[in-house]
């Protein structure tokens, strides 16, 4: 069995239901995302269109994150899912440097690496990932890509020639596919991030990795001191102080 994912971008309407469902199901902290839907505007009025691209871990068959992890915190499950053991993670961020898809984040509550696991805990109980269940147009298709009779395999066969993966040149062999994607939606270098064009202004870069209230000294003192547990409300306090992002320095 090898579990895979397919998103039909022709069906996705950018409702962000999957993003929210993922947040709730996995209790993903503020300022972190396992799954996000990116809006890209192509062309100029009146010849303009907007595309929506859900982005999550690709669960690569040759995963660079699994290879670089020094303690096997990132590891394969038998069903092909690249899982994370947060108890073992040392927080070196090697996986964040290795993942060509920027799919891994440093959880600000646990200070360990985390990412989409295709909702491995739900799969274990015979359920579908939360993002699949919530999608109102069934744009998210999930299943066994080694089973020819599965819905995802049938879908891939029906859309031969229009099935793509992100950055195939990286030879990571993703098990996450897109139908209806193009260079402009799947290649981050083919679109620009310009200040003034965002629906939300000044959404650019996070200037912290992991817990923003957890400095270098705190990392060492944490086991010996009472460390206030961080949750979404404490993250909101910090975000409201205006330190969360800074303007884009891109080119």
């Amino acid at each position: 069995m090898k579990l895979g994912f397919l998103v039909d971008l022709n069906l996705c309407m950018g409702c962000k239901g999957c993003e929210i469902a993922c947040k709730v199901e996995n209790e993903v902290p503020l300022s972190s995302w396992r799954l996000r839907v990116k809006y890209i505007d192509i062309g100029t009025f009146p010849d303009a269109s907007r595309s929506f691209t859900p982005l999550r871990c690709n669960h690569c068959e040759s995963a660079p994150c699994e290879r670089i992890c020094p303690v096997s915190a990132l590891h394969y499950l038998e069903n092909g899912i690249v899982n994370v053991d947060s108890e073992r993670c040392i927080g070196c961020a090697g996986c964040m440097m290795a993942c060509p898809y920027g799919a891994i984040y440093m959880d600000p509550e646990t200070n360990t690496a985390d990412k989409c696991t295709y909702c491995a805990h739900r799969i274990e109980s015979g359920m579908m990932p939360a993002c699949v269940v919530i999608c109102p147009v069934e744009a998210n298709i999930f299943g066994d890509i080694e089973d020819d009779s599965s819905h995802i395999s049938q879908y891939i066969m029906e859309h031969q020639g229009d099935v793509q993966v992100r950055k195939p040149e990286k030879n990571t062999h993703p098990t996450h596919f897109y139908v209806g994607g193009g260079n402009q939606t799947l290649n981050p270098l083919a679109h620009q991030r310009l200040e003034g064009y965002n629906l939300f202004n000044k959404i650019t870069h996070l200037d912290h990795i992991g817990d923003p209230n957890h400095g270098v000294i705190d990392r060492f003192l944490a086991p010996f001191t009472h460390h206030e547990e961080h949750d979404n409300s404490s993250m909101m306090d910090w975000a409201e102080s205006g330190n969360q992002t800074h303007e884009e320095g891109g080119h």
């Binding site: 505007d41 192509i42 062309g43 020094p70 303690v71 096997s72 040392i90 360990t112 959404i203 990795i209």
Partner: protein, 315 residues
């Protein structure tokens, strides 16, 4: 505004903030300190091959001392950069051998152990009363002076992979195209020769003129080739669209451009000419000045090369 954007251009209009610098100054310092820690051993071995020990009277203890200090700085910042520093032990209890981080941590630990033994022997022989009279550790060192010469070849051999493994970590960081080149391995090696010779120049006051000339030669060669490789990558990048886009953060001006060129001029061009001049006329002060500049410039160059690939959006 529309007229400034090409009709087929794609623009992100809604997305989440993306991470910026993940590996920052602590990793730069880590790499820089490791270059000194292994470099003094490699350059020290070269000097011992070329010259008699009498020409460099303090080399036997100061070489392991410098290596010990800078390897500890390297390991301290490796540890400090972890978000879960106490779990560093997992590298030894749950090693994952496909990871260059794991292999490197094991090799660096072994390297530091051997350096520590050399340091105890070197200090024990040179300063019998240090740290206090009757110290059993340095007494053991004095009795086992022969061990120094036995383990030194292994230390020199081990210094090479300890120098190079960071390049393998960078190669495994497959999201960062700029680091995906065999050139990175050579850059690490040149950085070690550069930093090692610079560090030894600073302590070579009472060495023979010939030994100091060799140090100037190593510094000149290392700065020259390292500079040429940086220039090759800067002007003739041929790797990929991602590498080109990464280099734009330097090409397009701004703080990284300034840091890069300051690093190149201070750390490579000026020290090269001073070192070449010193091979003919022995000017200790000027050579020390070149060594300090080389160490500062090396840090700046490494800092830019570490950070700019992290600026590029990956998705």
């Amino acid at each position: 505004m529309e007229s400034t954007i090409h009709a087929t251009q794609a623009i992100v209009t809604l997305d989440v903030p993306i991470p910026e610098i993940i590996w920052g100054w602590m990793i730069t310092l880590n790499m820089w300190a490791k270059s000194i820690g292994t470099g003094v051993i490699l350059v020290g071995a070269f000097l011992l091959y070329r010259h008699k020990k009498d020409e460099m009277p303090n080399l036997r203890w100061i070489m392991p001392l410098l290596a010990f200090v800078f390897l500890n700085i390297f390991l301290l910042f490796t540890l400090t950069d972890l978000h879960q520093p106490y779990r560093m032990i997992h590298i030894f209890t749950h090693p994952h051998w496909t990871s260059a981080i794991t292999v490197g941590a094991w090799m660096a630990s072994l390297f530091l152990l051997l350096i520590t033994i050399m340091l105890i022997i070197g200090i024990g022989e040179a300063f019998p009363g240090v740290p206090f009279k009757g110290c059993k550790l340095t007494a053991w060192g004095r009795k086992n002076g022969g061990l120094y010469d036995k383990i030194f070849p292994f230390v020199v051999f081990l210094a090479i992979p300890v120098t190079l493994y960071t390049a393998i970590i960078m190669a495994e960081s497959s999201a960062r195209e700029l680091w995906q080149a065999p050139a990175e391995v050579m850059q690490m090696m040149w950085a070690a020769f550069m930093a090692g010779s610079a560090a030894l120049i600073l302590v070579s006051g009472n060495w023979s003129r010939e030994a100091r000339r060799d140090l100037a030669m190593v510094l000149a060669i290392a700065t020259f080739f390292s500079f040429m490789m940086y220039m090759g990558e800067y002007f003739f990048s041929f790797k990929s669209a991602e590498a080109e886009a990464t280099l734009e953060y330097v090409h397009a001006g701004g703080p990284y451009n300034i840091e890069f060129w300051f690093g190149m001029v201070l750390g490579f061009i000026i020290p090269f000419f001073i070192a070449v001049a010193n091979m003919k006329s022995d000017n200790k002060t000027l050579l020390r000045f070149a060594a300090i500049l080389a160490l500062v410039g090396l840090y700046m160059a490494k800092d830019v090369w570490l950070k700019i690939p992290q600026m590029l959006p990956l998705s």
